[in-house]
């Protein structure tokens, strides 16, 4: 796709698969943590050649201190030795199918390598705060001059302009600020946030399609473009209907898992330790079926308004029914009667209970020799399903390949860059 490129690295690595929609697209991945790496993972899953450019300390220290929160169950079998930077669960989940170059962009020689790489790439994505790229001398104008076909996607928390442009943020701040937490509550004015910080993966998915949209635009215009993606602005779109309704003056939100239209709706205790079932009655037929199961034929004629005023009493009847049943059996019974119901899955259930599709998980052989199941790409595209999945790269695993085969540096050049600490393959001591 990029004429100047020194050929496909994925082909050299025997990783090329025919038919993937982003074959031939090269992405430079400067992202960290969560939303950004998810964005580039989607592109890699769809066939793009994604090259992570990582600082040697970006994956954490060489030794994990005994009192660090990082110790908490995110290494295989709890064991971080000998190379914790290659063994982190969340990192490995988010960076499969990618390549890694471990480069110090703060050094002039490192920046020169990055510039050479950007010159032969199609997309660059970063999720720094909005000061970093200009401070490196890599603002949009420079990038566009360096490679007019390059798509540049930046994703600062609050956006690249306006009074908050330099504000720092993470998902735990963005989700509430974007307005989602106000609607997540057992009662008004007692907000919660999601444990997975939904704004992060949402932004990751939107950023991936924004990059694809820009590549599609490039097919028309011949030029790359700059995308400024504010986490807040993307996330607020989740509650667009609520925002419109709130301006009408006649609307009161529902809380505590209830719903305006689906009545009753709630989360009900099942048999076992902290086991639950979610249920919503989506129409009158489902309501009559539920009455049948609950043994409350006398309730069958209740319309939605009547059910709403009896919600507490109905909830008690559902709890009485559910609490003596196992959650998956309860779900299956309710669904057999046409009622929307779902077992509240723990992380172990997601992996082991056989409810999510088999195709949802793929097994990937890890660098320490174990095979680990990971969530795959959730959408099917006919004729374009990936058959082989590649583990997350070790830090700097593709330094030599990228510099010699793609950027035309000699082996002596590469050795000198290692010597100067510009290239590395493990964290600083």
């Amino acid at each position: 796709m990029t004429g100047k490129a020194g050929g496909s690295l994925l082909e050299l690595l025997n990783r090329h698969e025919e038919g993937l929609p982003l074959n031939g697209v090269r992405v430079v991945d400067l992202t960290r943590v969560w939303a950004g790496p998810l964005a580039t993972r989607q592109l890699a899953d769809m066939g793009a050649e994604v090259i992570r450019v990582e600082h040697r300390d970006s994956r954490g220290p060489a030794e994990v201190p005994p009192d660090s929160g990082l110790r908490l169950g995110i290494f295989p079998g709890g064991e971080w030795r000998p190379d914790p930077w290659n063994r982190q669960a969340a990192f490995n989940k988010l960076n499969r199918n990618k390549l890694s170059v471990c480069l110090d962009v703060g050094k002039p020689e490192g920046k020169a390598v990055l510039r050479d790489l950007l010159a032969v790439s199609d997309v660059v994505i970063e999720n720094f705060s909005s000061r970093v790229m200009p401070n490196w001398g890599l603002g949009w104008e420079t990038l566009h001059e360096l490679n007019p076909r390059l798509v540049y996607l930046s994703m600062p928390g609050f956006g690249g302009s306006g009074p908050y442009r330099d504000f720092v943020a993470n998902g735990a701040v963005i989700e509430p600020h974007s307005g989602l937490s106000a609607f997540m509550a057992y009662e008004p004015e007692q907000p919660y946030r999601t444990q997975a910080t939904f704004s992060d993966p949402l932004v990751g998915v939107v950023a991936a399609w924004a990059a694809v949209a820009a590549l599609l635009k490039r097919e028309q215009s011949g030029e790359g473009c700059h995308i400024d993606l504010a986490h807040t602005e993307t996330t607020t779109r989740v509650i667009g209907a609520e925002i419109i309704a709130a301006q009408g003056g006649g609307w009161t939100p529902t809380f505590a898992n209830r719903n305006e239209v689906f009545v009753p709706q709630g989360v009900y205790r099942c048999q076992g330790d902290d086991e639950w079932l979610a249920l919503s009655v989506t129409n009158d037929a489902a309501w009559r079926a539920l009455c049948e199961l609950l043994g409350r034929s006398d309730w069958k004629g209740l319309d939605r308004d009547a059910r709403r005023s009896l919600h507490d009493e109905i909830d008690a009847a559902i709890t009485a029914w559910a609490s003596s049943r196992e959650k998956v059996q309860a779900m299956d019974l309710l669904q057999a009667a046409g009622i929307a119901a779902g077992a509240v899955l723990k992380n172990c259930d997601m992996v082991d209970a056989g409810i999510l599709a088999d195709s949802f998980f793929v097994d990937i052989e890890e660098s320490w020799g174990e095979t680990v199941p990971y969530p795959a790409f959730p959408v099917g595209i006919s004729g374009a399903s990936r058959r082989q999945w590649w583990r997350s790269p070790r830090l700097g695993e593709h330094n030599d390949l990228v510099l010699t085969r793609l950027l035309g540096r000699t082996e002596d050049d590469v050795a000198a860059l290692y010597q100067a600490g510009v290239l590395a393959s493990e964290p600083s001591a």
Binding site: D67, F75, H177, Y192, V205, I244, W251, K346
Partner: protein, 379 residues
């Protein structure tokens, strides 16, 4: 010179009535596609779906105004296969819900067909998946809310937005793949609501597959460090994400207690987590005497991640959204001041258009009059 919208000249026929299909269609319309929303004579189900602007009514649903913005409405009887097939064959993208009974566009149609469904699993593929059921099966619900209470679903219809955005990604990627290879042929895109939501996790499933740990419900805190939580101010709540040691030191400085940074009880993420109640009492002592905006300004000056817990009213008056000209006219008839969220991202080369949602059947005549009798395939 204004830039042409990305999907100018692309026709989308939206037969699905689920929120994922509707949001996918909304975005394609914003990107310039001609999105035809096919409605039954009684109107799309979202017209009856809350929340409502004022009282319930077919033209009063905030959901419909939001999700159908920029589309054209064509009323067709669900059993009029002839018209539906001709509509489908005039389009290059079709959005449907699984098992909705609509006919296939037939041979020779080589567009992109996206099908929205609940669960991908074969044994339970027919299950009815409402919003809260997708939160449950997608693994979000169990870990969210207070540990001593029942699990709590998130704000807004998060699973639906996850699925819709995955669908947009797949449709645009399929378009790009075709453009670059010159290949044609029908593409089927399958979008399962539950599996899309189940992908939206950071370390939940890997906590189990790596270390055999069950991710617990822990309120607003984080498992790996502290303080990352919501805190009460004099006029509501703020979110503070100061889990890193540097951010904690700056937070301590902002609170006028810089020595906290070197206090062994709070020296690192694990110790602050072990003493989280104490940490939270200290922070609340500071925040509860200040307004939310005072806290946010103070902390951001020291580069401590902080934001408000915003209500819709807060968002509509937020100086950042205002400065970036985020809001659009929501197009609610008779309510010119009502606003809706603007584009998900900004690019001079990828303009997003905004237009009101259609009245029921507003475009039936004009669209049907232009349909080819033979059901010719789109150009």
């Amino acid at each position: 010179m204004s830039v042409a919208p990305l999907l100018q000249g692309v026709r989308v026929v939206e037969l699905g009535s689920s929120i994922p299909a509707a949001y996918c269609g909304k975005v394609l319309a914003e990107l310039g596609a001609d999105v035809i929303k096919v409605e039954p004579p009684a109107g799309d189900i979202l017209r009856e779906h809350g929340p409502f602007v004022d009282t319930p009514g077919t033209e009063n649903s905030a959901s419909f105004h939001y999700y159908a913005a920029g589309k054209r409405s064509v009323v067709v009887a669900p059993d009029d296969s002839d018209i539906i097939v001709r509509l489908q064959r005039s389009a290059s993208v079709i959005l449907t819900d699984a098992d909705d009974g609509y006919p296939d566009p037939g041979e020779g149609w080589d567009g992109i067909h996206a099908v929205f469904k609940g669960l991908a699993s074969t044994s339970r593929s027919g299950y009815v998946v409402s919003d809260i059921v997708a939160y449950a099966l997608g693994g979000y619900l169990y870990t969210d809310g207070a540990s001593e209470r029942e699990p709590l679903k998130g704000g807004g219809e998060q699973p639906e937005h996850a699925a819709a955005n995955y669908a947009i990604m797949a449709i645009l990627a399929a378009m790009l793949g075709r453009k670059r290879t010159g290949e044609s042929g029908r593409v089927e895109v399958e979008v399962p609501l539950v599996e899309c939501m189940a992908t939206m996790h950071w370390y939940s499933t890997v906590m189990w597959t790596y270390a055999g740990l069950v991710k617990q419900r822990i309120g607003n805190r984080l498992d790996i460090t502290h303080p990352v939580s919501l805190y009460r101010c004099s006029d509501g709540w703020v979110a503070i994400g100061a889990g890193g040691n540097d951010a904690w030191a700056m937070l301590a400085a902002a609170m006028g207690e810089p020595d906290l940074a070197s206090d062994p009880r709070f020296a690192n993420g694990a110790s602050r987590l072990a003493n989280a109640d104490e940490v939270d009492a200290i922070i609340t002592g500071f925040t509860s005497n200040l307004t939310r905006r005072e806290v946010m300004t103070l902390l951001q000056e020291l580069r401590v991640p902080c934001g408000l817990v915003s209500s819709p009213e807060d968002l509509l008056t937020d100086p950042q959204y205002e400065a970036r000209d985020y809001w659009r006219d929501a197009g609610v008839p008779g309510r010119p001041g009502v606003r809706a969220p603007g584009p998900p991202f900004r690019s001079a080369d990828l303009p997003f258009e905004s237009a009101p949602a259609p009245r029921l059947g507003a475009h039936t005549d004009v669209v049907l009059a232009t349909l080819s009798k033979q059901g010719e395939v789109h150009g």
